[in-house]
């Protein structure tokens, strides 16, 4: 474990583990709403925030949080109105975000390609102590919010109309989800990069739900998978000298493929082992069915 004797590796590990836990805890609600790709779009918008920060010589992480939050709130307002043109509005916002980001980074004094690449694909090993504190505080805030508000967020993402008639503050919860998505994207940008953020939100959830039956179980399993992929990703990237963000995401996808294969094999095996498929479960006695046929 000599690798983790280095300060920068320790910081990379801590940052990655926090994000590995927080990203799936948030991502599960996006998957539940069938908006798995929204994190990717917000990542595009965050790049404009990075550009603004570099141009103004401010912390790019801070400006990225602000711009991504504004973008996420915009997306939520479009979604809320339920217009069919929402799809196109999102596309314009996302490509505007990435084009604006590349443009602004190019205008700044700090316009090296390496700098742009660091935000697009992550550079956790260059994380400063101050960055790490910010990642830890914001990551913990996201995690606590997602866990504590689980029943309410579950209800809103599962059936928004029902939640509204239950008197839940639907709009506030949706905006909260939008802002926490922006925060998660921005802190994860240091680890896996803006173009791979969404993978860490979605892939652990996709992996978990192949074997789980309930929402709570899926959430806990996805957080475990995200944590494990982040931890082993930092170790493997250090050993093999590969890019950290890409290594974490490849490991998460490998876990997904292995689980999908395993679950498929298990289903086949179970069918083989129990060849006498029982007839459709009783409980619907024929006379009950017949008594509700309309009288002719």
């Amino acid at each position: 474990m000599s690798l983790f004797a280095y300060d920068f590796m320790q910081r990379a590990l801590v940052g990655a583990l926090i994000i590995g836990l927080a990203a799936p805890a948030l991502g599960i609600y996006l998957v539940q709403r069938r908006m798995s790709l929204i994190g990717d779009g917000i990542g595009h918008v965050a790049l404009t925030g990075v550009g603004v920060g570099l141009l103004l010589d401010r912390s790019p992480v801070l400006t990225a949080v602000l711009v991504a939050a504004i973008g996420a709130i915009g997306v939520e307002l479009v979604r809320e109105r339920g217009r069919t043109s929402g799809d196109l509005a999102l596309a314009v916002l996302f490509y505007g975000g990435i084009a604006g980001g590349v443009l602004l980074v190019g205008l700044s004094d700090d316009r090296s390609n390496a700098n742009l690449m660091a935000y697009l694909f992550g550079a956790l090993s260059t994380t400063s102590r101050g960055d790490l504190v910010m990642i830890a505080v914001l990551g913990a805030a996201v995690l606590v919010t997602m866990l504590f508000l689980r029943p309410a967020l579950f209800a809103v993402c599962h059936d928004e109309e029902h939640a509204r008639v239950s008197g839940l503050p639907v709009r506030a919860l949706n905006l909260l989800l939008a802002v926490t998505t922006a925060v998660t994207v921005t802190i994860a940008m240091r680890a896996v990069g803006l173009l791979l953020v969404s993978a860490l939100m979605v892939v652990p959830v996709a992996t978990a739900q192949q074997v789980t039956r309930g929402f709570r179980a899926t959430m806990l399993a996805a957080m475990t998978i995200g944590f494990a992929a982040a931890g082993s990703g930092v170790w493997l990237a250090g050993q093999a000298g590969t890019a950290l963000g890409a290594t974490i995401v490849v490991l998460a996808i490998a876990a997904f493929a292995a689980t999908a294969l395993g679950a498929g094999l298990w289903r086949v095996l179970r069918r083989r082992l129990a060849p006498a498929t029982p007839l459709p479960v009783a409980g619907d006695p024929p006379e009950v069915v017949l008594s509700y046929l309309p009288p002719e």
């Binding site: 599960i28 998957v31 539940q32 709403r33 069938r34 798995s36 508000l149 029943p151 309410a152 579950f154 209800a155 993402c157 599962h158 059936d159 109309e161 029902h162 939640a163 509204r164 008639v165 239950s166 008197g167 839940l168 503050p169 919860l173 959830v205 739900q209 789980t212 039956r213 309930g214 929402f215 709570r216 899926t218 409980g283 619907d284 009950v288 069915v289 008594s291 509700y292 046929l293 309309p294 002719e296």
Partner: protein
């Protein structure tokens, strides 16, 4: 009897197309009211407008004597929306979906306790799904998923149930289970307002039928006998679902 919900002079339009033209509806405590009508008649819109899910162009709604914009006691209402299935993008157990029905009573910031678990169990029992509590809701049949949503509404122990097409496309066993659950709810003094295309086993429970046709209430009273081709034995219940549909008089209203 005091009114649970009173809709007065409700006008609703989608874009420039009027859907409801000045409708009145009053449901008193203890009533079980069925809103009947053809596809596109405005019957669903009437109920959704009453709940504030569709904005009114004109008119007013009162729940338990409070105007809708100031109404906050949502725990007194249990709502079953019209939707396909009870699933979503992530697996959820039947008990988890039904547990959402407790939020109106418990609020957002409190964690579920023993009373919540007991109410979920009782609601599942009422719709005959107690054994399926731990199963993923997506593995249930369409009728069982609909019963899950009805259990979610019952779990909040409401005084009033509002159901939008609760029996559409539901198998006979689930319809029977639902009729039992609704009968129990009404027997305990509950009020219900349900939108339906046809009543089936629910008919004996209905105390009053309201027929909506072309955005107007054209009948309020006993359940009308099926009229026209609807009553013919070979009627096959295929209705076009076009937005421009102006099907006439399926429920005995004048064409």
């Amino acid at each position: 009897m005091s009114a649970v919900v009173e809709v007065s002079d409700a006008v609703v339009a989608y874009g420039h197309r009027p859907v409801l033209g000045g409708v009145h509806l009053r449901v008193a405590a203890g009533e079980v009211v069925a809103v009947l009508g053809a596809n596109g008649s405005g019957k669903s819109t009437l109920v959704r407008a009453a709940l504030g899910l569709v904005p009114l162009v004109r008119g007013r709604v009162e729940w338990f004597g409070t105007p809708l914009p100031r109404f906050r006691q949502w725990r007194r209402i249990g709502y079953v929306p019209q939707r396909v299935g009870a699933g979503s993008g992530v697996p959820a157990t039947v008990a988890e979906v039904v547990g959402s029905g407790r939020l109106a009573r418990r609020g957002v910031l409190r964690l579920p306790g023993r009373a919540d678990r007991a109410a979920v169990a009782a609601a599942l029992d009422a719709v005959g799904l107690a054994e399926r509590a731990g199963d993923p809701v997506a593995t249930l049949s369409g009728g069982q998923q609909q019963r899950t949503l009805i259990a979610r509404a019952l779990a909040g122990q409401p005084e009033m149930l509002v159901l939008d097409e609760p029996t559409a496309g539901v198998d006979a066993v689930s319809q029977a289970a639902f009729a039992d659950a609704l009968a129990g709810f009404a027997r305990d003094g509950g009020t219900a307002l349900l939108v339906a295309h046809e009543l089936g086993p629910l008919e004996p429970l209905i105390t009053r039928a309201v027929v909506v046709h072309d955005g107007q209430v054209v009948h309020s009273g006993a359940v009308p006998a099926p009229a026209g081709h609807h009553a013919l034995p070979d009627h096959d219940h295929v209705h076009p679902h076009g937005p421009q549909e102006r099907a006439a008089g399926l429920w005995g209203a004048a064409p």
